[in-house]
């Protein structure tokens, strides 16, 4: 059964090929259904082996496909273990739902089939990434994910902002990719192979703490690019220029989790580098807080969700940093469901409001869009961390793991609690401004509920967002047990005592409810609060981080490039090439007189040359 897992990758890849090459002929909506069916089949195929792992009838294994670069231990092989199975299920499952949703959302787009080709390509890339059994193949998936992300963000490339956003995402990600690549080089220099199995079993012997720290920090740099952490998170808010399903699929559920997944996969290496762990946890916490603060001030419904995603990714990274890998991955899974739900819900709202994204011009959509309203309610409660929705369980687990470390880590725990408070606040703000209160619609807007292809995925995701959390409660750590084979090589912290865990969870719940209440009373009234102070302006602008990068990095970079273009290129490089050309021309002018056209002068040259050669040989050989 498992030896057919390559079909998982082959199916969406086939879809990508067909839709990109023949898409125009297939047309709408068949291209969309093709993409949906292929990804859905991949999900269906993955179910059985995943259940096998779940029930214990199957074991983690490496499925060899073909030899690629054997000297570096890079075979095309699939590593099928609980971690990759989980990610496969999320990627194909959420991916299939988003394909279905896109059939409705992208209706009427002139490049309809092309869109599904890119989506399929993305799914295939992501599967290559999560199913890789060595770093080389993982890197290929990593780069392909970056490529398809670029294609999808700038899908509406006729809009200059979309083209610029795609470029920005790509370039910022390349900085992270550089870190990943250098980490891979160090790994290869240390181990002589890229194979996960060899690396993870021999790492404690081979790596010194310094080498492990270098590798893990560079890997983390890669993760900050893909998973949008400080300092490389700036591409994600801009990426909202892409179609909303793209935001849901890539920038909420799957691609941004690649960094977290990669760090979880490399958990053994991170265990060897305590300094990296601290760095990662601190950056994760800081990202969670900063992004939450910015999210509070945003007016664009998608921007709120974008910063929210960055914030939630900060939680996951924090979980990895404190060594709670399964908690991080658990939050990754729950987040994939409820954030995809929120994004798709927001897409549905935007769709119904005729492409209006400003929350100040919404309100009162509760009646116009009932299904969207109900499902968004679930998503809102889940991300805010309300019992018993999934966000409550997963966020709580990360916070508990941080609390458990004690000492200075308590500061990080407090940051996490603060971010949770803000999360509840801004999500309630979004929810209230959009669905409750009086309509503040622009004139002529007539909101309508979306077609069933869009609401059905919402419903499915809402169910998942409700129940998924129950898989891993402090009382019954089913999820952690499931993931155990993937983290077998690292030590596990003892779970917290149940009473203490319950107290912490209760505290977090109270904080969340407090945040919701505060926001509810602030926004659920006829007169909206005036938000024009310095804080709001700066927050709306993302605290000018983009400008800072622009001044500190981009402008000096441009100056250097201009200097090269204006001075080095014309004077140095052109000078050399022109000089060579001029020299050749001068030499040719001088030498062409030798080309007299007189056969006899050539013959004379040969004869003289023969004499000189003979004499030279004699002189050198001592023949005289």
């Amino acid at each position: 059964m498992t030896d057919l897992l390559w079909i998982l990758i082959a199916l969406p890849l086939t879809g990508a090929f067909i839709n990109i090459v023949f898409g125009k002929r297939i047309g709408e909506p068949l291209a969309g259904w093709l993409g949906f069916v292929l990804v859905g089949s991949a999900w269906a195929i993955a179910v059985v082996p995943t259940l096998g792992l779940l029930t214990g009838s199957g074991t983690p294994e490496t499925i060899y496909l073909f030899s690629w670069i054997p000297v570096v231990g890079a075979d095309a092989a699939i590593l099928w273990d609980p971690l990759s199975a989980l990610l496969t299920m999320i990627v194909t499952g959420v991916g299939a739902l988003i394909h279905l949703y896109s059939i409705g959302y992208m209706h009427g787009d002139e490049r309809f089939a092309r869109f599904f080709g890119y989506l399929n390509l993305f799914i295939a890339s992501m599967l290559i990434l999560v199913l890789a059994s060595n770093y080389a193949v993982m890197f290929i998936g990593w780069e392909l994910v970056g490529l398809s992300s670029y294609l999808l963000i700038s899908f509406w490339f006729k809009k200059p902002s979309a083209a610029a956003a795609g470029k920005k995402a790509f370039i910022v990600n390349r900085i992270g990719d550089w870190g990943f690549l250098v980490a891979l080089m160090i790994i290869f220099a240390s181990f002589g192979t890229f194979d996960f199995g060899v690396i993870f079993t021999t790492a404690p012997v081979v790596l010194t703490t310094g080498a492990a720290t270098a590798i893990t920090l560079l890997l983390f740099l890669g993760a900050t690019g893909k998973s949008a952490q400080i300092p490389l998170y700036i591409w994600l808010p801009d990426a909202m220029e892409g179609p909303t399903p793209v935001s849901a699929l890539i920038h909420a559920a799957t691609m941004v989790t690649a960094g977290v997944f990669m760090m979880a996969r490399s958990a053994v290496l991170f265990e060897l580098a305590p300094i990296s762990g601290v760095t990662i946890a601190v950056i994760g916490g800081a990202t969670a807080l900063l992004a939450a603060v910015i999210a509070v001030t945003q007016m664009d419904i998608k921007k709120v969700l974008a910063y929210s995603t960055i914030s939630q990714l900060g939680y996951m990274v924090m979980g990895v940093g404190v060594g709670a890998y399964s908690a991080g991955v658990f939050h990754l899974s729950t987040h994939a469901f409820f954030k995809a739900l929120l994004f798709l819900g927001a897409g549905s709202v935007i769709h119904g409001m005729a492409d209006e994204q400003d929350m100040r011009k919404m309100g009162g959509l509760r009646k116009a869009m009932p299904v969207t309203f109900v499902t968004m309610t679930v998503g809102w409660l889940a991300i805010s961390g309300i019992f018993p929705f999934s966000g409550f369980w997963s966020k709580d687990e990360i916070l508990a793991a941080t609390f458990q470390r004690g000492g200075p880590w308590l500061i990080l725990w407090a940051v996490g609690i603060l971010a949770a408070l803000l999360t509840a606040f801004y999500m309630t703000r979004l929810y209230v401004l959009t669905f409750l209160g009086k309509p503040r619609w622009a004139e002529g807007t007539e909101p309508h509920e979306s077609p069933w292809t869009m609401t059905l995925p919402l419903a499915v995701l809402a169910v998942a967002a409700v129940i998924f959390g129950v898989f891993n409660t402090p009382a019954r750590l089913a999820f952690e047990h499931f993931l155990e084979p993937s983290f077998a090589l690292i030590s596990h912290a003892e779970p917290l005592d149940l009473p203490l865990a319950a107290v912490l969870a209760l505290f977090a719940l109270v904080v969340a409810i407090g945040g919701i209440a505060w926001s509810w009373f602030r926004y659920n009234r006829d007169e909206l609060p005036v938000e024009e102070g310095g804080f709001w302006q700066r927050g709306l602008n993302g605290f000018a981080v983009d400008d800072l990068y622009g001044r500190v990095i981009v402008e000096p970079g441009k100056k250097v490039c201009e200097w090269f273009a204006d001075s080095v290129d014309p004077k140095g490089i052109d000078g050399v090439s022109h000089g060579i050309a001029q020299g050749v021309r001068t030499a040719g002018d001088g030498l062409k007189t030798l080309q007299s056209g007189q056969v006899r002068s050539y013959a004379g040259g040969i004869a003289i040359g023969a004499v000189v050669l003979i004499l030279a040989v004699l002189a050198l050989g001592g023949g005289f």
Binding site: G604, A607, I608, A610, V611, I614, V617, L618, F624
Partner: protein, 176 residues
């Protein structure tokens, strides 16, 4: 002693014919000079016990090649136009220096390495009869021999091509 006399006679004939060939104003005389040199060399081959090579020398060179030369001379007319251009003294001096220098250099180079006659004449242990030569030619060098067959075929084809396509040349020039 007899051999030495024969050598001196024919070496002299060869040298004189060669010099005559170079200096004769009329190409026909040059051809006759070359003919003399080749005959002399054929005699020297006999002296060296290379009977078969001597025979080929007479048949191929003195026969076929020289006939060809004379034929071409007849075809394009005895061309004295060379005399029209003024003789350049510097050219002649240069030529003398170079050719004498070359001769000197060869002699100088060969002097130390030259075989000094360990096999005196009159005690030949090598006989260049047809049998001996053909043993070698068709034994060791069969493939090379066959490739010369191809070479001659190609040369014949080339000549035909030159003669055939060469006729269009004036027309081509007219169109240029």
């Amino acid at each position: 002693m007899g051999e030495l006399i024969v050598f001196i006679i024919f070496a002299t004939v060869a040298l004189v014919s060669a010099i005559g060939m170079v200096l004769a104003k009329n190409p026909v005389y040059s051809a006759i000079g070359l003919l003399g040199a080749m005959f002399s060399i054929a005699v020297l081959y006999v002296l060296l016990d290379a009977h078969f090579v001597a025979a080929v020398q007479v048949i191929v060179y003195a026969g076929a090649v020289m006939t060809l030369f004379l034929f071409v001379i007849m075809l394009i007319g005895v061309d004295n136009r060379e005399a029209y251009g003024p003789a350049v003294p510097a050219q002649r001096i240069m030529t003398a220096v170079v050719s004498i220098g070359l001769f000197a250099a060869i002699v100088l180079a060969g002097r130390a390495a030259w075989i000094t006659g360990s096999n005196a004449f009159g005690t030949p242990d090598l006989n260049g009869t047809i049998e001996n030569v053909s043993d070698e030619l068709f034994g060791t060098w069969t493939v090379v021999f066959l490739s010369t067959v191809m070479l001659l075929t190609i040369a014949a084809l080339g000549t035909i091509a030159l003669a055939y396509f060469g006729t269009d040349v004036p027309d081509e020039e007219a169109t240029l």
